[in-house]
Symmetry: C2
Subunit: 471 residues, 2 copies
């Protein structure tokens, strides 16, 4: 497939064999071998047994463990040691009773792990580390269908069953697609990342049959691409990609996919089909940037940097990041509305550490002169108010009519970006609950010298990627 | 009429008497007295006689002089000594013959003046100074109607007759309206100014009956206001004010009125009707700004100034200014397209001197970092070209997908506004014929120090007005 006429490689030069060679080479590395599979199966069985035994101990005969996730449908990448075990209760059980009973049960199971932690996103669950496996134990209700769920996680067993019934023989295609997505940075549906989920990847393979066929189609996707496996024809969504959930017609499986990740995938798919290369399957490594190198790059870019920092709220990423992104966008909007040229913004948070909202500006300073365009003269009363406000104001340079508008040239109130943000962050910025509490507990507005004092390696890895990445 | 509720003056406090007092006071100064009228009439008669005698001398019995202009319809302001005499030829005469004959005739008449000059706008004519009068001698054709003209000036006698037949008894209203327009800076339809013509002013008075009634209506005009005295209902125009020419239905009398002047008049009319004041009738005087004061003001504004200068083409203002304005706008567009923030631009030309195109910028310098947003990823071929262009370019900082676009961060080519204009003025700027020749003959791009060396008082008067004006 030739996408560019100028640098064209004749279509025939890319053969079936080229794709095959890459597939085989990649699959060798990402397909779990037999002993790895056996270890996982053994760990899964043991875990199920422990849950059943513990339930018996508490005389809970209505509890049924359901294995879900990629471990259950053989679509997991070698080296991945995730086990997702759902512990299901009859839907007649009240939410209160279920939470009480499941807590008692799971705490007992948790003790058999090497370590455990209590996690809470939309729904409480327990995470265990045991013999090298990362295990999620998630309580849920056994509802009749995915469209009648009592809690958000109840649909997962339906997803798992749907995929399991259809994916057999296509597991390698899923592995390849997942690895391609990881390599191109679009895999992972957590809010912070906004990429493709495992379930979504599997649906794509079911829809188009093979890894290469998914990419061949994706290369020509546009905003609003619609995939409706079961022909549910449900109401429209305004997301970049709309994949009707086969088990729940009103849900878009790709609702969490950001426009950027969607577009990255479209672009990467097109480039791969034109020039297949093993490099697409490996995410480049971005080692931490040193503050010295950071300063060198900044000096080449000639931009001004500032950051707002505050203690990271102790919340799950999926709770924290939407609030961080809202604040990030809101700060950029405030700066733009006040004539500052925002080049880039970046959000960073480290649990037990700080949140850092970085802002790169063309300049932190603006000239004193500000042009304020008022209403058109035929908005007579508003024009009069504008005239009254600026006519004899000591900060007015000129007051004129330009085209149909009344225009004042005045002394700018905010000539410094820091001063603007300091003044507006609590008054006008979009502050979600947890971020608001954190900002109120104390925030700083820092410049490049203070930014250079940030110690977190994760921060400097992010900075390296942000400042050097080339697709 | 109360336009603003907050600072409202009860409507009753402005009485008929307030308006009357102002009218009388203004009219005393602008209404020509009897001896002034007699002198003008005498000068007009003498001129007509000279034209007739000279025509006789050349045996040109088909020549008829027609007095037009405000002198003919008694709508001239005291102190104004303009006489417009049209010298008409039968329409059967060829343009060539008419130009030859009229030239011979008018040159002979010109000799009777104290001085004369050959003027040429759209149409050749001769300007004479004689005994304190400014006389335009304009050759034209006597056509049957204003819609069948052979040259642009042929419709003027029709305008004059139309007004003369209807303006009697309303001359004072015209004088007041003209003086109000002069005082508020909207009078004068030459291209450089883009304001109201005398003919337009007279039509407004005929339409609304009195000076105050014109303002009362104008205060609520909006873009596209339509005045159609003779109910011609001709095709629509997209001008701010559309006044169908009573003598030529397809022509908009207000075609040369700029949106700014239209809006200024709407605004001034509203303010006058709310707070009548004698000050509206006097244009503020702007004495030449000294370069020292200019620098002080610039330092308060904190802006960067540059100018493009070149020798003024020896052309009439109405020929030169459209070209200057086009270049002025075109320079602003080039700067804006290259990320510079243009605060203001001003065009100035002095015959026998230089043209100066002034540009006030937030900053003459931009940081090296430039963001270039490419096509959306679903424009597959364009995205590929963009990718190929920037992927391995030494000036590329980053190449990413952001939302649906491919975006490159690159080293900016034009970090200096002067360098940008020097590079683009001949290649991309809109250069009319005369301005192109002048720019090609040599132009300079100067900064504030060189701007301060400009000697022209007219230039520094303009600068004073531009930098301090308050409506």
């Amino acid at each position: 497939m030739v996408l560019n006429k100028k640098t064209k490689v004749p279509e025939e030069t890319i053969s079936e064999a080229d794709f095959l060679k890459i597939r085989e080479s990649i699959l060798q590395n990402i397909r779990p071998n037999d002993s790895e599979k056996q270890r996982l199966e053994a760990a899964k069985s043991e875990l199920i047994e422990i849950v059943c035994r513990t339930a018996e101990k508490f005389n809970e005969t209505d509890v049924i463990p359901i294995s879900v996730g990629s471990a259950e449908r053989s679509t997991w990448l070698s080296g991945n040691h995730d086990i997702d075990l759902f512990v299901s209760y009859p839907e007649e059980v009240s939410r209160e009773e279920m939470e009480k009973r499941s807590r008692r049960l799971l705490m007992e199971v948790a003790k058999t792990g090497n370590s455990w932690e209590d996690r809470h996103s939309e729904h409480p669950y327990i995470h265990i580390r045991k013999d090298g496996f990362e295990i999620d134990l998630v309580p849920c209700f056994r509802v009749k269908s995915a469209s009648e769920i009592k809690s958000a996680v109840d649909r997962t067993p339906f997803h798992c069953r749907f995929i399991k019934e259809r994916i057999q023989g296509k597991e390698d295609e899923v592995l390849l697609l997942k690895q391609f997505m990881k390599g191109t940075g679009v895999y992972g549906s957590e809010v912070r990342n906004g990429g493709f989920s495992g379930y979504l990847t599997e649906i794509l393979v079911i829809r188009y049959g093979s890894f290469e066929n998914v990419l061949k189609k994706a290369a020509y996707w546009r905003f609003g691409e619609n995939i409706d496996l079961m022909n549910h024809q449900s109401q429209p969504h305004s997301d970049p990609l709309v994949v009707t959930d086969p088990t729940d017609p009103n849900r878009n499986v790709a609702a969490a996919l950001s426009l950027t990740r969607f577009s990255q995938f479209v672009n990467a798919a097109g480039r791969y089909m034109k020039n297949p290369d093993i490099g697409f399957f490996t995410k480049p490594d971005y080692p931490p940037l040193s503050p010295t190198d950071f300063k060198k790059i900044v000096s080449l870019r000639g931009t001004d940097w500032m950051a707002v920092t505050f203690p990271a709220p102790k919340k799950a990423d999926d709770t924290l990041y939407p609030q961080l992104f809202r604040l990030e966008n809101s700060l950029a909007e405030i700066l733009t509305a006040n004539d500052f040229t925002v080049m880039n913004t970046h959000a960073f948070a480290e649990s037990e550490g700080n949140c850092v909202l970085l802002i790169e500006l063309a300049s932190k300073k603006l000239p004193p002169l500000q042009k304020r365009t008022g209403p058109p003269v035929w908005a007579v009363e508003n024009t009069q108010s504008f005239y009254d406000k600026y006519k004899d104001h000591p900060d007015t340079f000129t007051l004129k009519i330009k085209n149909e508008f009344i225009v004042a040239e005045i002394v700018r109130k905010y000539q410094s970006a820091e001063q603007l943000i300091a003044d507006k962050i609590l008054k006008e910025a979009a502050l979600g609950r947890h971020v608001r509490d954190a900002v109120l507990s104390g925030y700083e507005i820092i410049g490049i010298e203070e930014i250079c004092k940030i110690k977190s390696p994760a921060f400097w890895k992010m900075m390296n990627e942000k400042l050097t990445k080339q697709i």
